[in-house]
């Protein structure tokens, strides 16, 4: 006995690879035949092209197709793919009055799998999967054929082997709606979210990790960016209750890392110039594999600590020395790095923690803030517990990050005892189903709204959503723009005039002030006559800032620019 039941055979031994246009021809032919002699057949349509950004990933296609093919094997029928990646199962007639099974049961299953959190796509008129009778739904199926793009080579084939390396998110160009950041899948640490059109080979990926891990500490400074987070009190009514800079988050910029790899590629492509140990093939960008990226992040984090130790007291943007009236530095470190001798040497530079409560009462009087991703904490619970104790004893704040709204719906980050929980903004948040919205609101209340930091707050929509949820801490381009707008109003040098070396400087713009605040080198601040104010974020305390929330919108930043 084979022990195998046809009812459970999911992987079809026959995997016809039809070109996209062939799918349209088959459906058109079936529609014509049905019009001539109705058989009562039905079509199960799976609109994978309608999945919200970043769109259908290879596993969506693979498993949706496997489920359709399984049904076709059991109950008869034929599966094909339309241009654009949508799938169709053409199934034989189903008896009227029978309970939903076979092809008729598939749409509900597929909807549940593909949209586990409900339909969050804007303007959802048609479900992601549905069964349509060929006769009754003739017009709609015709419309489906007419709507299909003329040809589509961008949709990955569902047979594409993607493991390893893993599924890289594939998003159609222009998938992000105007004014909104793309809804990125939040990876742990979330610093290497860049997409690759084609994942590089395993060897190239591992070599890329090795190349970046071998970066001299000094070169790392060129890959960094500072992002200042803002505190907006619950009753934000300037000038009585001011905007405050919370921390300066030091981030590694993936685009700059990728550029470094590209430069290494160019060097190795010169005849006889390949450094020992590097492959002849191109490195191919940052690794797509999440675990390789984590390994890379861990190596870079250790180097970052060394860099900050070397920059101690240097009065450069990378000086983490805590000073009264200045926001603390925030760095993302894995538990293993926090527990390393290198971090101990860095922590020893800080003064003993002050126990006095800070005036705002929203943050402990932190010497330094350290962000640990929840995934890293879960992977190394003992290391995380030790790191938490070490940070606490040193008067440093623990920020738990790498938490998307999906993660917040699944897990309870507050159980890990952080000082702050960093929730990544997503444009899907305002569109969640009511049940999910309530669950997110409950999670924010459970954590305590004052202990939630909304990261990736790049847009006004993010800020407004956060404010409505009771959140007071924001990090992202929009928060930076608010801080820059405040600086422009307070800064004596913002009107331009003679610089320190006698040259005439133009008046400062919102964008230039915001960009200078992100710079980690003196060169990045060229043109600013008040760098101390850049370090501060905003004068602390601020008493007279005549800004209102809707008045500040940052239009000037383009994706891929230095703000990316």
């Amino acid at each position: 006995m084979s022990g195998q039941s046809a009812a459970y055979t999911l992987a079809s031994p026959i995997r016809p690879r039809r070109r996209a246009r062939a799918g349209e021809a088959l459906l058109a032919d079936a529609l014509d035949r049905e019009a001539r002699a109705p058989l009562g057949r039905i079509a199960v349509v799976v609109r994978l092209s309608r999945l919200p950004p970043p769109g259908a990933r290879p596993y969506h296609r693979r498993i949706a197709r496997a489920l359709l093919e399984d049904c076709a094997q059991r109950h008869g029928g034929q599966v094909f793919r339309l241009a654009g990646g949508d799938l169709v199962l053409l199934a034989p007639p189903v008896e009227v009055g029978m309970p939903a099974s076979g092809a008729l049961a598939l749409p509900a299953l597929l909807v549940r799998l593909l949209q586990p959190e409900g339909d969050t796509s804007p303007g959802a008129e048609e479900p992601i999967a549905e069964a349509i009778h060929l006769v009754a739904g003739h017009a709609r199926l015709r419309a489906l054929l007419d709507a299909a793009p003329p040809d589509d080579d961008t949709a990955p084939d569902d047979d594409t082997p993607d493991d390893p390396p893993d599924d890289a998110p594939h998003a159609p160009p222009g998938a992000a709606s105007a004014g909104e950041a793309p809804d990125r899948r939040t990876r742990p640490r979330n610093i290497f979210a860049g997409r690759q059109p084609k994942p590089p080979s395993v060897e190239a990926s591992t070599m890329a990790v090795a190349t970046l891990a071998a970066l001299p500490t000094g070169d790392i400074a060129a890959l960094l960016q500072l992002q200042t987070a803002a505190h907006l009190p619950a009753r934000f009514a300037p000038p009585a209750t001011p905007l405050r800079a919370v921390h300066r988050a030091l981030r590694i910029v993936p685009a700059l890392l990728a550029a470094h790899l590209a430069a290494a590629d160019r060097r190795t492509s010169l005849p006889g110039a390949a450094p020992a140990g590097l492959p002849a093939e191109r490195l191919g960008g940052l690794p797509a594999d999440p675990w390789l990226r984590q390994h890379l992040a861990q190596g870079l984090a250790a180097a970052l600590v060394t860099l900050l130790r070397q920059s101690w007291g240097s009065a450069t943007p990378l000086d983490a020395t805590p000073r009264r009236g200045m926001p603390t530095m925030l760095i993302a470190l894995p538990p293993a790095v926090v527990n390393s001798p290198g971090f101990a040497a860095f922590a020893a530079l800080f003064p003993r923690p002050e126990l006095a409560a800070n005036s705002a009462g929203t943050l402990p009087p932190a010497m330094l803030s350290v962000a640990i991703s929840m995934a890293e904490a879960s992977a190394d619970p003992a290391g995380f517990a030790a790191a938490r104790t070490r940070l606490h004893d040193a008067g440093m704040a623990l920020v738990l990050d790498g938490i998307s709204h999906h993660a917040l719906l699944l897990a309870r980050p507050e159980a890990l005892g952080p000082d702050l929980v960093a929730l990544a903004w997503s444009s899907a948040l305002p569109r969640l189903t009511e049940e999910r919205r309530d669950a997110i609101a409950a999670a924010v209340q459970r954590i305590g709204p004052a202990r939630v930091l909304l990261t990736e707050a790049d847009t006004e929509a993010a800020l407004l959503w956060g404010r409505a949820a009771g959140i007071q801490l924001f990090q992202g381009r929009h928060a930076e723009a608010m801080l820059a707008a405040t600086r422009l109003m307070m800064c004596s040098g913002a009107r331009g005039g003679a610089g320190p070396d006698g040259t005439m400087l133009p008046p400062c713009q919102l964008r230039s002030c915001a960009e200078r605040a992100t710079a980690t080198t003196a060169a990045g601040r060229t043109g600013c006559t008040n760098p101390r104010l850049l370090d501060q974020g905003v004068p602390n305390p601020v008493h007279a800032v005549a800004t209102t929330l809707p008045a500040i919108t940052l239009h000037a930043t383009a994706p891929g620019g230095s703000f990316a």
């Binding site: 599924d167 899948r185 742990p188 390994h295 517990a385």
Partner: protein, 387 residues
């Protein structure tokens, strides 16, 4: 009793013999039986392997074993001589007089020894099942070959080029000899331990020792995780082979989420015998869930549609409250035993008994805690199903 007869006829050391290996196996089974059924027994352990060479002559060993004779008359007494000559008598019920008699004979035997070895140093009176872990450790130690010479240089952490080489080696290596099974048992009061499912896994420690002896895999945890992806595929391929699952019972697989969403899983699923559908547990890791929650949600829905149960492994007291089953939608949470758990309760950790599997059970204290907390499923070195 066979074991007693064996001992009384034994003129000299049986070090390493097939009979002593069988004695070790029988004693191990007896200890596991005591643990799973909770039956009280007593044992006298005689650590003859620790005697100095001058005192470990064959006639010394024979006399020492003969000194235990009073105890072998106790209720259901059995005597076991392990491969390293350590000797154990196990009995039920009171036998205080026999115990005193045996200890007195031993004292007399070693009274003339100039060495400082006292009888107290080589004997130990144990209670089962409470001190089962001590006996199991003695059995394990008795089987160990002499420790291999330590490598001259410390092992270096796994790095990406070494990982690439290791993956290449793994791709063609025959991994079937590294395949292992670890029982997960249902702990039902009064019924001992019943096999719930067997985890099918590769012994990564042995694999690394064979394929990359100079590398420390644990020192690079993310690269180690990356390696598990390839092992997932090899395991799924192994189990998809014809006949492989013939006669198999419920089993569990530790998989990456990406592996569940791969073509290899579809092949494995297609090859799964129908009678095992609904009896396979997929163990996931929390860092994998958090790395890509949308992929997890999709994989969860797909796996549960196909009848798989899901388990979240690697939960410790520090992370216990972070993954509530009602929001993760996971069937089982595998909590790793730590001695500090003895002073707390499941409820204090934010966990509920019906969903919990207590893992890493290596002591009776762990098993007692599982019983006290009414944890339904247990696994670890001390956990063997009751025969």
């Amino acid at each position: 009793m066979t074991a007693v007869l064996l001992a009384s006829r034994r003129p000299q050391s049986t070090r390493g013999s097939a009979a002593s290996a069988e004695a070790a196996r029988q004693l191990e089974a007896l200890v596991h039986e005591a643990v799973s059924s909770g039956t009280a027994r007593q044992a006298l352990l005689l650590r003859l392997s620790t005697l100095p060479r001058a005192l470990a002559q064959p006639h010394h060993l024979r006399l020492a074993v003969e000194a235990l004779e009073p105890l072998t008359g106790a209720d259901r007494a059995r005597l076991f001589v392990l491969p390293n000559d350590d000797t154990i008598v196990v009995w039920r019920g009171p036998a205080a007089a026999a115990l005193t008699d045996s200890l007195e004979r031993l004292r007399t035997l070693f009274a003339d020894a100039r060495d400082s070895h006292s009888v107290g140093a080589i004997t130990r009176h144990l209670g089962l099942p409470e001190e089962a872990d001590i006996l199991l450790a003695v059995i394990a130690a008795s089987r160990q070959p002499p420790p291999p010479p330590r490598p001259a240089t410390p092992r270096t952490p796994l790095d990406p080029p070494a990982l690439a080489a290791l993956e290449a080696a793994l791709a063609s290596a025959d991994l079937s000899r590294f395949a292992r099974r670890r029982p997960v048992c249902a702990l039902t009061p009064g019924q001992g331990l019943k096999l719930a499912w067997e985890m099918r896994l590769f012994s990564l420690a042995e694999l690394a020792e064979t394929l990359a002896p100079d590398r420390d895999l644990r020192a690079a945890p993310w690269l180690h995780l990356r390696l598990t992806r390839m092992l997932d595929h090899r395991m799924m391929a192994l189990l998809s082979a014809p006949q492989e699952l013939n006669g198999a019972g419920a089993f569990g697989l530790a998989l990456n989420i990406a592996s569940i969403l791969s073509p290899a899983f579809l092949r494995f699923d297609a090859a799964l015998p129908a009678r095992l559908r609904g009896h396979v547990v997929l163990a996931l890791r929390p860092e994998d869930v958090l790395s890509d929650p949308p992929a997890f949600l999709f994989a969860r829905g797909f796996a549960q549609t196909r009848g798989y149960r899901l388990l979240l492994a690697g939960i410790t007291p520090a992370t216990a409250g972070a993954f509530p089953p009602e929001t993760t939608g996971i069937d089982h949470l595998e909590l790793a035993w730590r001695p500090e758990l003895a002073t707390t309760t499941l409820a204090a950790l934010g966990l509920t008994a019906p969903h919990t599997v207590l893992a890493n059970i290596d002591s009776t204290a762990a098993l007692d805690w599982a019983r006290a907390q009414q944890i339904p499923l247990v696994t670890g070195t001390l956990v063997r199903p009751t025969r």
